[in-house]
């Protein structure tokens, strides 16, 4: 029998010491992120297969996401427009956008918790950069977002809402979301691998955040309690993407807030990841 096996990349070096200094640990963390980034094709495939598996064998496939979001937006829109006495033409485009964007944020936070625990089998059988699994979770949630965008487009077309050129200002906001999502999955992924009670806590906090953040209600409805929104990181982060798409102006303070929260998130995530990276496989 002929042997047609395939040689694998030969330039590999593994050099691990115990009790490393912070710079040494940081070098390993940086190389984790860069080698993980080079495996983007694998991260993409894993994220895509996750979505495919969830809906394999169903008729609509991933478009079940679109349909269920559409139904939810329609039902909530009718209910709240009458409860809050609001014009459906005005409220529904706002709600569709808010719900889809919030759906991404809350799923991202919740799934960030299982970034490493869901990959346990792989982590325990081969050395892989941990950043790969972060990228996979982010890609998976971006794919869900892409399917839900259809709902926004349909609502905007039906109500003849044109966001205008200002909509392009949402792009830097989305870029910020992307890097924040990666940080979040490194942070919560490591933390939840070590402390298994964190995920339920995070989920219930997100439930509260949903009501405290102007998702189904508009920021201006807060009236004289508007100051309560300022310390809510979700408010600033949601606004930097949502406001440009709705054509409403946002102040520099919102951008400043979003930027500061992101910097803080990356700072904490990086410090934790540098410390935890070498230990995650022991915690699984």
């Amino acid at each position: 029998m002929s042997m047609t096996s395939i040689p694998i990349e030969s330039a590999a070096l593994l050099d691990l010491r115990a009790d490393m200094s912070f710079p040494a640990r940081q070098r390993l963390a940086i190389s984790d992120v860069t080698t993980g980034g080079r495996l983007w094709r694998l991260a993409w495939t894993l994220g895509w297969l996750d979505i495919k598996l969830r809906y394999r064998g169903s008729m609509l496939g991933p478009f079940w996401l679109t349909l269920s979001t559409g139904i939810m937006v329609g039902a909530l829109g009718l209910l709240y427009a009458s409860l809050f006495h609001m014009d459906l033409h005005d409220y529904l485009p706002f709600l569709s956008l808010s719900m889809v964007l919030w759906g991404f944020l809350s799923a991202m936070v919740s799934e960030a918790c299982i970034t490493f625990t869901e990959a346990e089998a792989v982590i325990r059988s081969v050395r892989m950069p941990f950043f790969l699994f972060s990228a996979r979770v982010v890609i998976r949630n971006l794919l869900v977002l892409a399917h839900n965008i259809v709902v926004i487009v349909v609502v905007f077309v039906v109500f003849a809402v044109a966001p205008g050129w200002g909509a392009f200002l949402a792009i830097p906001g989305l870029a910020l979301w992307l890097v924040d999502s990666l940080a979040l999955s490194l942070l919560l992924g490591s933390f939840c691998a070590r402390f298994r009670d964190i995920q339920p806590i995070v989920n219930s906090l997100m439930q509260i955040a949903f009501f405290m953040t102007p998702v189904i209600w508009k920021p201006e409805q807060a009236g004289r309690h508007f100051f309560l929104l300022q310390p809510n990181p979700f408010f600033d982060l949601l606004e930097v993407v949502r406001a440009p798409l709705l054509g409403t102006p946002i102040g520099g303070i919102t951008w400043l807030g979003a930027g500061c929260y992101s910097l803080a998130l990356w700072g904490v995530a990086w410090l934790l990841f540098v410390r935890a990276r070498g230990r995650v496989s022991f915690w699984l």
């Binding site: 096996s5 395939i6 990349e9 590999a12 593994l14 050099d15 598996l53 059988s125 050395r127 022991f282």
Partner: protein, 267 residues
């Protein structure tokens, strides 16, 4: 250890690996009981209870070395393989591994039974950093060896158990590393298939510059290895030529190997 760039080599100095017991559930409790029974519970700096899986292990391997790991269950063989693969980072000591590594630690090895055979093959290729063309080649190779022609686009979940074993084996042996780390599962399997698989496995082992094999089977260790490490409770109990260490381990002189199992050529 003197190391030459590009030459595969392994150097392990004073390596200890211990598992903290965090999760206060039945699983941990079970581990604790097992560990207590084997006298390996300790405490780390933070007064946490830890299981000391490897204690002060040192050795080095160069091209041509075929190391067999022997010892009872829980002696640290699999932990040592995982440490060499870089999955566990040492608590003390220094691990240095130069060369491409393939670790065949468990038969599943990232195989997802909900995915089709083709998707599993593609994933394995991507995990090994293969370019597109190499993955196509991998797919042909694995499909023909495992005899999956009609099933390749169906989920692994519906395969017969024999097909799953063949697919897992074909995937494991399709990648040719410089350093091969192998747990003994790969040698298990039904006899007829093993016969057919033997050439393939031997070709892979011969192709590797360094082999580290963990096994309970003294015949396999004597056939394939030129050095044996006996692990006991995470420590090296003995290290030397296979026959010498095996005689100590078994406590009686070895019987000659059966004629057909010729010692394997090195290199």
């Amino acid at each position: 250890m003197t190391s030459f760039p590009g030459k595969p080599g392994i150097s392990i100095e004073g390596v200890s690996v211990s598992f903290p017991l965090y999760h206060g559930n039945a699983r941990s409790l079970k581990k604790m009981v097992v560990a207590a029974a084997s006298g390996r519970l300790g405490q780390d700096r933070n007064q946490r209870v830890v299981v000391e899986a490897l204690r002060n292990i040192s050795f080095s391997l160069h091209g041509g070395d075929r190391l067999g790991l022997i010892g009872s269950n829980g002696a640290g063989k699999t932990t040592l393989l995982r440490t060499l693969a870089g999955i566990y980072e040492p608590v003390t000591g220094h691990v240095r591994v130069e060369g491409s590594v393939n670790a065949l630690l468990d038969p599943g090895l990232g195989m997802n039974v909900e995915l089709t055979g083709r998707e599993n093959i593609m994933l394995r290729g991507l995990y090994n950093g293969m370019p597109r063309e190499a993955i196509a080649q991998l797919e042909d190779d694995v499909t023909s060896f495992a005899g999956l022609s009609d099933f390749i686009d169906l989920p692994v979940r519906i395969y017969s158990s024999g097909m799953v074993v063949r697919l897992g084996f074909a995937l494991a042996t399709a990648i040719r590393p410089q350093i091969l780390l192998m747990d003994e599962w790969i040698l298990a399997g039904d006899a007829a298939f093993l016969d057919r698989a033997r050439h393939r496995l031997e070709a892979m082992v011969r192709g590797a510059d360094i082999l580290v094999l963990s096994s309970h089977d003294q015949a396999i260790v004597r056939t394939w290895c030129n050095r044996v490490l006996w692990l006991e409770q995470g420590r090296i109990r003995a290290d030397g030529p296979p026959d010498e260490v095996l005689e100590q381990y078994l406590g009686h002189p070895l019987t000659p190997l059966p004629a057909e199992a010729e010692p394997m050529a090195v290199g």
